[in-house]
Every structure is written in C-alpha cells, then in structure tokens.
C-alpha cells in the first residue's frame, strides 16, 4: 500500500467495517434493547404483573421452598442457583448444572407455595441479552466471534477518526437533501462523531468485560492455572471451597437469608449453594449492586452445614479490580435512572445507525456506472444490508409477536419463540436476494412497520387488563406499546423515503445522468475541487 497514512486508514476503515458490519449491527441492536432487558422480560411474562410482590420478611421461607424443590429434583447437581423474588420478577428462579455438557435445569416456582409458577414459557429479554454477546451460538464460540467483531470495531472506530478530515468543521453537518452518497456519509459521520465517547466506551468496555476470557494467559501464568483463585482475589466470587466428599445435611437456609438481610441495606438478589449435601457446602448470598458506577455485587458466604458466616465481600477493591468493575458497570449502565437510561438507549441507537449507514455507504460507493451490471459482491452486500438492517428488527418484532400468539401450553414454547425469530430473519435475509434492491428495501421496511403494529394489536387483544383497555393495569404495557408505535412510525417513514427516491435512482441506472455519485460541489460553502472522499466509503 503506497499511500498516505490517511488513505491507508480509510482503506482499513472500509474493509474492517464491512467484514464485521452485519454482525456488529446485530450486536448493537440487541445490546441497545438490553438496556431495557428487565422491562422486555416483564412484558413477555404478563402473568407477573398480576402477582403481588413478596414481602421481604417472607424471603427466608421462600428460599426454603426453593431448596426443598432442588433437593428433590437436582440432588446430584454441584451448584444450585436460586434467584430470589424481586419487584419485577416475583418468582423463585431456579437453575442448576449437574455436570459440564449436560443441559442445565431451570424452573420458576411460586414463592408462596413452592409449586411451579403459572407463567408462560419464554426467555424474555434474556434471549436478546445473551444474543448480544453469544449470538445464540455455543457460548465459547459466540463469545469469541463477538469479541473478534468488537476488536475489529475498535480498529474501525480509530481508523474512522483518522480518516475523517473535517471532524470539527463537519461536527454538526447533516445535508440530508444532497446526493445520496453525501447524505449517507453525513449521517454516518454525525451518528459516529456525536456519540463517539459512547462508541469508544461501549466497544472498549465490551471487550474488557470478557478480557480474561479472550486473554487468559496472564491469569494462567500468575495463578498457575487456578483461575478460581484469581476470581476470588479480584473479588468476583467468595473464596471457593472444594468438596470434602463427606455427606452432611444442609442447614436450613431461612435463618441465613435473615442474617444476610439484616447485614446490608441492599435487597437480596440470589443464593448460590455450592456442593449441597457435602460437609463443605457453601451458601453464598448475593445482593443487588449498591448505587454506584462500578458493577460489584456484595456477597456473604455461609458455611452450608453450620450456618456460620465464612466471608463478607463488600467493596474495598484494589485499583485494578476497581477499574475493571467500573468498566463493566459503565458498559451495563445498571446505575442509570430512567432519563439517563434513555440517553444511553439513544446512544445505542446512534451506534446502530452508524453501523447501518456504514455498510450502506460501502454499496453506494460501488454502484455500477451507466450500462454496467452490478458485480456479484455488490449484489450480495446489498441483499445482506436489507436482510440485516430491516431483517433483524423484523425478526425481533416476530419474536415479540410469537410471545403473544403462540398457544400457552405449546411444548417447548420458549424454543418456538426463538425459532420464530430466526425463521423470520432467514426469510428476511433471503427475499432481498431475489428482489430488486429498492423494492426489497421498501417492502422490508414497510414489513417491519406492519409487524410492530401487529405487536401492539396482539398485546391489546391478549392482555385482558391492558391499561389502554381498562384505564388501569400495569403502565408497562402502555409504554412498551408506545415504543412499538414509535418504531412503526420510524420504519414507515423510512419506507416512504425509499419509495420517493426510486425515480431518480432508476434514471441513473439507465444512464440518464452520468454518475452523479462522484458529483462534486454539493454545497456552495465547500470548495468545488473537494470531491467526496473516494476511499472513505
């Protein structure tokens, strides 16, 4: 590459952006949605909104019921996880793993009776959240793919900053009514530059959250392969205790829950029971995060047999560990109240828009000249653009729709919701291959709009105490549906714009105008000699 530094960076930006663009878009969309994971989960389990929240004093008894259930159904498991009832999830959420390779067990219980909770089978917002960093692949593979994409994203961000010559002069510039390539480049720049602190933060901290997974060698060398020792020194977990291999009965957990509750002001979030039934059983009570930037859950470990407190983990982190937890905290944004969360969400949307405009720019910069046929790669990129930018939102809408419309007693219901998601996405990705590009954009954007409206309709029809039907009920449904209506309007607007742009586009393809793509002097304020950066897009 015999070119200036900036041109090399432009090349790097173009190709690093293109190869990971579609996966990045999916990561950004699902990650942005994950800012509202608890709300999405609650919307997808409408039964919860009718359950009275559990009194804090009744937590001990509820935990006992959970242990009784696990003792019966998961006696061989090495670790039991018990999610305690929360205001937004008023059930016992049990999870256990017997041995690696076997599918984990999972069940929701009514905390008052210990019977299985009457709630529809769904993964709720957790599906989108896990997709954000595992892409619904086997966890190790998924995390590697996402990590690689994030690292390449960081490369694309930095090279993009270098490439952008007029980063300050064009800070506020969005010429939406100029030549398409100019407008798209402006949109790409504006969404990238205005939210640049967020993009850099989210990409970097995203890699950091899984840093020890991507680069385990430091820990392996320093702790001689004992990663658990590192985790406990970094205060992620309490000191692990190996099983004694002597059976002993687990002490009642109710009193432990009471002692834990008395020890700290934060609500208890979950219990972790390691090696139940062993003489070295440990019960770890995990609290919600105290208000703060950093992501650290206070924990209290009890001896599972005697019930005595073994260890209290509560702040006091060393600088490196603190830096790490602050970075994960910033990434997750748990600390953000409703308004700040909305700003985070907007930043996430700008990230989605930046990636989307980026991959569209690549194809716009390579539109065939008059009389030429589009080359195969261009057709593929164009189809993938439609399939991801319009296809993924369509798939998410179908996922929500499936949650409302699938029969409640369907076997494997939660898997069917996910199949609906991927089925819709596959269709949305294949259709553009067979359709003219403009037509495909129009149809799919309009389809997303219709699907969002269908979600609202299905919600109104299937939720008997929907606030818009009775005036009472949980306002969550009204908020969710309002967001869906807003999305429907946005996608309808986008579809309309595509439709209106069709005529001049066709002229160009026929050669009525000679290649206006490179037309200079879009604005009189700019010297006409400056052509749109040919290498940038």
């Amino acid at each position: 590459m015999k070119a200036s530094f900036r041109q090399s960076m432009a090349w790097l930006h173009t190709w690093s952006g293109l190869i990971v663009g579609w996966v990045l878009f999916a990561i950004f969309v699902t990650g942005t949605a994950s800012y509202y994971r608890p709300d999405i989960s609650r919307w997808m389990r409408p039964e919860f909104t009718q359950v009275e929240p559990v009194d804090a004093a009744a937590l001990g008894a509820a935990a006992e019921r959970a242990v009784a259930h696990l003792g019966q159904h998961a006696a061989k498991a090495r670790t039991w996880f018990i999610g305690l009832p929360q205001a937004d999830k008023p059930v016992l959420d049990l999870f256990w793993r017997t041995r690696p390779g076997e599918p984990p067990g999972h069940v929701l219980l009514d905390p008052r009776t210990g019977a299985e909770a009457a709630v529809r089978d769904t993964q709720g917002g957790d599906f989108l959240y896990r997709f954000h960093f595992e892409l619904h692949m086997p966890p190790l593979w998924g995390r590697w793919v996402v990590g690689l994409c994030a690292m390449i994203m960081l490369v694309a961000l930095i090279s993009g900053i270098v490439t952008h010559k007029r980063i300050f002069a064009d800070f506020f510039t969005f010429r939406r009514d100029k030549a398409p390539r100019r407008s798209w480049l402006d949109a790409h720049n504006v969404t990238g530059v205005l939210a640049l602190p967020f993009h850099l933060m989210i990409t970097y901290t995203g890699i950091v959250t899984l840093a020890t997974f991507y680069m385990p060698w430091g820990v392996t060398a320093a702790y001689k392969g004992n990663a658990q020792a590192f985790f406990s020194e970094a205060s992620w977990i309490t000191t692990p205790r190996p099983p004694a291999n002597r059976p002993a009965a687990l002490a009642p957990v109710g009193p432990m829950v009471e002692r834990a509750r008395a020890a700290r002001p934060e609500p208890l979030e979950r219990l972790m029971i390691v090696n139940p039934g062993d003489a070295n059983a440990t019960v770890v009570a995990v609290f919600e995060e105290p208000h703060g930037l950093s992501h650290e859950h206070p924990q209290i470990a009890f001896d599972g047999v005697s019930g005595e407190i073994l260890e209290v983990r509560d702040g006091g982190l060393k600088p490196a560990a603190k830096t790490f937890t602050v970075m994960t905290g910033l990434h997750e944004g748990h600390f953000a109240g409703p308004l700040l969360r909305l700003l985070f969400f907007l930043c996430g949307l700008m990230g989605c828009a930046m990636v989307a405009t980026g991959v569209v720019l690549w194809s716009l910069a390579r539109l065939p000249k008059a009389g030429e046929r589009p080359f195969l790669g261009l057709r593929l990129v164009q189809a993938l653009n439609v399939g991801s930018i319009a296809g993924l939102p369509a798939a998410v809408a179908v996922y929500f729709l499936a949650n409302r419309l699938l029969p409640l007693d369907l076997a494997g219901r939660e898997q069917w919701e996910i199949r609906a998601f991927f089925g819709a996405w596959i269709v949305a990705a294949l259709v553009p291959l067979a359709r003219p590009q403009r037509r495909a954009w129009c149809e799919e954007l309009a389809a997303v709009s219709v699907l969002c409206l269908a979600v609202v309709a299905a919600d109104l029809l299937t939720i008997p105490d929907h606030p818009l039907r009775l005036g009472g009920g949980d306002p969550l449904f009204a908020w969710f549906d309002a967001a869906m209506l807003l999305l429907a309007a946005l996608f309808a607007l986008a579809a309309r714009k595509m439709l209106r742009y069709e005529a001049p586009k066709r002229d160009r393809a026929r050669g009525a105008k000679p290649a206006p793509v490179t037309a200079p002097a879009a604005s009189p304020a700019r010297p006409p000699a400056r052509r749109p950066e040919p290498t940038h897009a």
Partner: protein
C-alpha cells in the same frame, strides 16, 4: 434531584452546542442567511465552551464526580442529536430553541441553587 440536574445539563448542552454550531460559517449562513462577524464568532465560541464547562460542574457537583461526567457526556450527546436534527429540518428554529433551552436550564438551576 437527578431529573432536575439532567434537565439543566440538557438545556445547557443544547444552548452551548447551538452557540458553537452558529460560530461556524456554514451553519451561521443556514440560520441567519449571512456570514458571521468575527466578534460574534468569538462571543459564540466563548459562550459555548463556558456553558459546556458549567454543565460539567453542575453534573459533577450535584451528581458526584463518578456519575457527573457520565451524565455530562450523555446530555451533550442527546442535545447534539436534537440540534443536528433541528438544524437539518428547521434551521430557522435553532436560535429560538437555543434561547428556550437556556431559559429551560436556568429554571432547574435556580431551584437547585436555592435548595443547596
């Protein structure tokens, strides 16, 4: 506290960014149909940077120096997005909107100052 502080941050950010934006020739011409005078450019820039700094201190003092900077940047990003959209679709409204934002920021600021 937080909604008030965030409102002040958003208002200050919008007014500051609008001033910086109007100090650029292209946008000044879009909004006012004439080139900016040198003195006006300097005044707009001074005001813009001062308001951005003030916004940081407002966020830091009331939200603490851990959350403050996060909220400061968040408010700047949100305000910038609004400004760019307004500039693109209704450039004539930018100046009145900036003044309104300044007034809208002054209200929560004075409440905060009185209650402090």
């Amino acid at each position: 506290m937080t909604p008030l502080v965030l409102a002040a941050n958003l208002g200050l950010s919008f007014a500051a960014l609008a001033a910086l934006c109007l100090s650029l020739n292209r946008h000044h011409a879009e909004v006012f149909d004439r080139k900016a005078e040198r003195a006006a450019v300097l005044r707009l820039r001074a005001f813009g940077w001062a308001a951005i700094t003030l916004s940081l201190f407002v966020a830091g003092l009331w939200e603490g120096w851990a959350f403050g900077p996060v909220q400061w940047i968040g408010a700047l990003t949100g305000a910038a997005l609004g400004l760019v959209l307004l500039l693109s679709y209704r450039p004539r409204y930018v100046a009145p909107a900036a003044l309104a934002a300044l007034v809208a920021a002054a209200l929560p600021l004075s409440i905060l100052a009185v209650s402090a």
